[in-house]
């Protein structure tokens, strides 16, 4: 089963304001040169939120399961990471 299908098991309420942002896209290009692909943020993310399109990092923040890994993995501290507002984002049934 693909991760995108697994994410259907979660209840999501979307925050229109993205809670994850790349601070500086040029840094990601530098990161790709230094670390190759997949870059650290991609390697640790269990929800395929980060996709490198060859030149730019694309973020599907709506899929985030709020695990907290990417902000720690990024060697350049290039992710502005926060929680979705007002309890939005994903909710669990079991945990």
């Amino acid at each position: 089963m693909k991760v995108e299908e697994k994410l259907y098991t979660l209840r999501y309420k979307r925050d229109d304001e993205p809670h994850l942002k790349i601070k500086n896209f040029d840094v990601c290009s530098r990161c790709e040169k230094e670390y190759g692909t997949p870059q650290p943020c991609i390697s640790v993310c269990p929800a395929n939120v980060y996709v490198w399109d060859g030149t730019r990092m694309v973020i599907s923040y709506e899929n985030c399961v709020e695990c907290g890994a990417c902000k720690i993995a990024c060697p350049f501290n290039n992710i502005a990471w926060s929680f979705p507002r007002y309890g939005l984002g994903m909710s669990l049934r079991y945990g």
């Binding site: 089963m1 991760v3 697994k6 994410l7 098991t9 979660l10 190759g36 997949p38 650290p40 991609i42 390697s43 640790v44 993310c45 269990p46 929800a47 395929n48 399961v65 709020e66 695990c67 907290g68 890994a69 902000k71 720690i72 993995a73 990471w81 926060s82 929680f83 507002r85 007002y86 309890g87 984002g89 994903m90 909710s91 669990l92 049934r93 079991y94 945990g95």
Partner: protein, 383 residues
């Protein structure tokens, strides 16, 4: 003006609020989830004794753990737990913990995220409140604690990434497939070395089975492999796919586990108290994080009311469960180094099989000290 403001309605936060409210302090808990537990992930196996500050008679557990099994490279060791262990679902557990804090008089606000604390001002995404003392019980992603300068962010080498799945079908099927009685539960711990080294865990809920893995973040980065792919590979190689065949996937989740923290990080400063995962008190061997979280929260609740930041750290160090978790850390760091673990797992399984066949090879004797250490750790894991 509140006496005590608790940031986070997880186990640490609810224990802190319970204590503070019982001591008569005007207490509020601010939780970002739609309800306590909605954002929280874990095994979860807990030691009922650790939760004794709550009224455990009504603890909403799924199954009592009657067997603890360790499994690596085909070798299995099974033991009966000494203490009462139970499997719980976090949503039910966290709701229950929070409701006990509420019964003691604490106020709970949900769907609200604390953004920062500035002295007595607690700024949330819905406005500000004031509090004399603030207990930070935010869990592993402790943005407010880090923001306040009380501790730093984790590093990849101090962080375990976990992914977990819950499969459900029926109570009878769970019992049949795992050889369990009506209310009986099992908890299995696996060690694996492929595609990267890590630990797996299996727990039983009433009508479902939870399986997950924990791998070091540094390994994921250096091997360029994603946790979800490790999970699939491990499920295949350990036969989990067959075990859950016909079950439906009910939930997929992930969360980091901090493997460093107190006492390297300060537990208290001025009117701020850190607790639980925000402070970094998980026992890295037993995965016991909920126990240390409620214990540290409970102590923080009391000392916050009495404005005794000065004695918080020494009180934490003196507590048995917490000091055990802290003392294990260096040993674990050594044992779980990626270069050691592969050799280690195969050596231990060789050793155990030659041990049982009565042939203790020379090679094994040379490695006996390592084995002894591992044995100690295993004992620690189930005692």
């Amino acid at each position: 003006m509140y006496d005590v403001v608790v940031v986070g309605g997880g186990p640490a936060g609810s224990a802190a609020a319970l204590r503070a409210a019982k001591l008569g302090a005007k207490t509020i808990v601010i939780e970002r989830g739609s309800e306590p537990g909605a954002k929280n992930v874990s095994g979860a196996m807990i030691r009922v004794n650790d939760l004794s500050m709550f009224d455990v008679k009504s603890l909403p557990y799924e199954r009592e753990v009657s067997k603890v099994r360790l499994s690596f490279d085909g070798v299995q060791i099974e033991m009966k737990p000494k203490d009462k262990l139970v499997n719980v679902g976090r949503l039910k557990l966290d709701r229950w913990l929070a409701s006990q804090a509420e019964s003691a008089g604490a106020v709970l606000i949900t769907k609200t995220t604390v953004l920062k604390v500035d002295g007595r001002r607690i700024v949330t995404d819905r406005g500000e409140i004031e509090g004399e003392r603030v207990i930070l019980a935010e869990g592993a992603n402790a943005l407010v604690s880090i923001n306040s300068g009380l501790r730093r962010e984790l590093k990849p080498e101090e962080t375990v990434q976990t992914v977990k799945e819950v499969y459900s079908l029926s109570k009878d099927e769970v019992n049949k497939r795992l050889g369990l009685g009506e209310q009986e539960g099992i908890s299995v711990r696996y060690l694996f070395s492929n595609p990267i080294p890590g630990a797996g865990f299996l727990y039983t809920y009433k009508d479902s089975i939870a399986f997950g893995i924990g791998v070091h973040m540094r390994s994921l980065i250096s091997h360029r492999v994603r946790p979800q792919d490790v999970l699939e590979e491990v499920k295949r190689s350990l036969g989990i796919n067959e075990l859950v065949k016909g079950f439906s996937l009910r939930e997929y989740s992930a969360k980091i586990i901090p493997e460093n923290g107190f006492p390297a990080w300060r537990a208290c400063s001025g009117n701020l108290f850190l607790t639980g995962d925000a402070l970094g008190v998980v026992n890295p061997i037993t995965f016991n994080g909920i126990g240390p979280a409620v214990i540290s929260g409970y102590i923080a609740g009391e000392l916050a009311v009495n404005d005794q930041c000065g004695s918080y750290e020494s009180s934490l160090m003196m507590e048995r469960t917490l000091s055990q978790a802290i003392k294990l850390r260096p040993l674990v760091k050594e044992l779980l180094k990626e270069e050691n673990i592969r050799a280690y797992i195969s050596m231990t399984s060789d050793a155990l099989s030659s041990w049982t066949s009565g042939d203790l090879s020379l090679d094994l004797k040379a490695n006996l000290w390592r084995l002894t250490k591992h044995a100690l750790l295993l004992l620690e894991a189930i005692s």
